[in-house]
Point group: C2
Chain length 497, copies 2
Amino acid sequence: MKLKVRLVGIETGFTPVVTINHLDAIRYDLHPRDRVTVETIGKGKRKVIAAVDVISTDKSIKQGEVGVLVEVTEELSLKEGDIVDIHPAPKPDSLKYIKRKMDGEALSARELDRIVKDIVAGSLSEVELSFFVAAVVMNPLSLEEITGLTRALTRNGSRFSTKKRPVVDKHCIGGIPGNRTTMIVVPILAAFGLTLPKTSSRAITSPAGTADTMETLADVELSLEKMEKVVAETGACIAWGGSLGLAPADDRIIRIEKPMSIDASGLMLSSVMAKKFSVGATHILIDIPYGRSAKVSSRFKAEELKQHFLSLGTLLGMKLTVMLTDGNQPIGNGIGPVLETRDVLAVLQNKPDAPQDFKEKSLRLAAELLEFAGGLSKRASYEVAKDVLESGSAWKKMQEIIAAQGPPKEQFKLGHLRTKLLATHAGTVKSIDNKAISKLARLAGAPITKGAGLYLHKKVGDKVKKGEPLYTAYADSTEKIRHVKLYHEELKPYRVK
Amino acid sequence: MKLKVRLVGIETGFTPVVTINHLDAIRYDLHPRDRVTVETIGKGKRKVIAAVDVISTDKSIKQGEVGVLVEVTEELSLKEGDIVDIHPAPKPDSLKYIKRKMDGEALSARELDRIVKDIVAGSLSEVELSFFVAAVVMNPLSLEEITGLTRALTRNGSRFSTKKRPVVDKHCIGGIPGNRTTMIVVPILAAFGLTLPKTSSRAITSPAGTADTMETLADVELSLEKMEKVVAETGACIAWGGSLGLAPADDRIIRIEKPMSIDASGLMLSSVMAKKFSVGATHILIDIPYGRSAKVSSRFKAEELKQHFLSLGTLLGMKLTVMLTDGNQPIGNGIGPVLETRDVLAVLQNKPDAPQDFKEKSLRLAAELLEFAGGLSKRASYEVAKDVLESGSAWKKMQEIIAAQGPPKEQFKLGHLRTKLLATHAGTVKSIDNKAISKLARLAGAPITKGAGLYLHKKVGDKVKKGEPLYTAYADSTEKIRHVKLYHEELKPYRVK
């Protein structure tokens, strides 16, 4: 049926959607959520699959009209009043495969590829994608399936390419506030001559992702071309992964998992590996911090995850090394983008107040990669990493990377309001709760307010006197300062004994 | 935050949604799909929970504005330019229970009630509801859980009430074209003096539901008050269940199952029983037709389903009788609303051309209920049913019911285009495929075009000569006639040998 376009300025952020009048729906036997092909008319025909919404009043979309939401408008370059041809589209094959997985059967690489293709094309509705996620949560993916899914996620997306070898990458499982080791490890290794096309994420539930923190120093929203240029010039980059179109289906799957707070290990593994695969990484270091308040809560679980990563690396033909690290407290002193950047600069510039735990962990990760990908001996690798950092080479390289990526969009300053949270009694810091610290930094305004967050004066093992400050909170509103104080009492992030 | 209302004439048909500008989203730390409370200002405050959509351009919703979709507009009676207060709402408890079910744990009656409450309130997103459905498909509900869910579905919805006892109801599992026994059984029993507040569905994937067929004779979109009035006056009604608000959560669950073509037996059982529970039924007959091309494909499966129904009836304290019936071919000759009504009237008016299989099945069902709920002996019940029908009392009662419900919205006529589908060789009709017949009747235009459908001239066991018509298709467009002819060749609904 031919219908007249009415532009509707709404995005679904997911499946492309068009709305039609209920009379047309009856006439053409279309039901809400049915799939239709929307096709432009005339030369250079273009088409897209969209879901139908039926409007039961005549107020916005009249008979003979079709309301076109932003995704479809952009895909087909439509203008108000254009005529489009709409006809029912068949159900995608991947629905059959999803049902098969729900029934407990294994999916082949070809079937997983079909599912991922349909996710990227937007031909699976959110309901259908939810069934896929539920199926793999309840009938966990085998290693073979994870391998197939990883390849499918990578194949159906953009890829970064370079002729350089090796291509080095690192990934941290997350869950530890601070911990901005990427911003130290990347310049050390690049200064040594290795290639690191590093992509990072923004915070979803934490007070900062590496992309948020790097953004206070340089532009991180690079195009794939720009990223290739930066890496060609400097050997490395630290870019936001979200603007590059690498493994885009993964982002959609994550959006389904998030509201349910689901953490399906098979999906996580293929998500991590697909992002590395998409940048052509040949040598990868996986950092698994574990500890009571970390994402991975025990040594046992950390070892188990390590084995999964190593097996997956073998199946995918990628060289992988895994380090289990201390996840019992935040790494570094600053929590929140600007405060973390201060730590990063202190380490790179060899300032006397640089947090030693942060420097030390970064050196150990860099050393592991120098040995694993750079061909150095175990003994030499740590010394070389230290030398590259302390000689100022790493800082020089970081400045090159910043210059190549371009200046940040804004100058971010530390929150102008601050409050000190004090010890109620004397003793030694026994533990600092990662989850509580994350929550307090978010209450202060991080990552939305880049200058907001916490600065930890005391770490585990430090002695404190009664009334001495444990940490300072930075924010830009008195309300947020008040929230931090309130929740500090409730969450009790420090255990002092 | 206080925002200015901009009305957006779009319905989601599901979760209430508001859209905000990306700058406000950043400022208030709201992410797409977050839940917010939308509250009116001033006296008589009203509020509703809605999901947030973030608009990343300034074209439609500017900073300081909120786009309000139809569900929220209606719930809060909003006008363009009104000011509403928006703040983040916590996640509903039912998410925890859904995750628990995904993990294989059983849900308590209280937890199921909470889930159903949240479904009705629209506080669960489609993604979240999909996880619930996937969970109960993959970890099937126990009989105790089905009982809990049935009670929860009923409790969170409208209810029909009458002081009359017994309150009789019947339900057919479906899948057999024609088969409009409700329209014969209800007037027979009501003429006998029993109470039958019957609600029926419209077709989703079939060529007609009882509500579609009844609609050619009377108004079926009754309010609950009107339904109570009709039943008080005549002892019965045949209304569309969709406009009554009985077990509304069930309709939402069905909408999630439909695109996945999921048929979770636990959900089906609680759906059927909740609808009966909501009309206060005390005595229920469940008709399970089985046959190779029926919904229930074997005697074994039919027996299994029968046991589930009987156990559930006991747990719910409802008297239940189950009949396993022949589902090997359509019942009656007409397929499609107007054609089925012709069969119904022929039986009620004792016309000589009335389809005997349809009349006979209706009498058997009516007799079963006369015995089960009416206190008649097995021997007498069939004779009484036959007498009530053949004396014209049932037809008189049906006319009363039609008059009480009110006239149909339109006069529907048989499709003016018709074509006869002929036997290619002589022999005896061995089988008629229910699914193929359904599909052909839908291709002819049923149920959207009420006068479209098929009229079967031959049934199983009939002898046919080469070139004799097997059935006639009725439609209102030559294109549809062409489709029927085309698919008749492909689907071969008749097996003649």
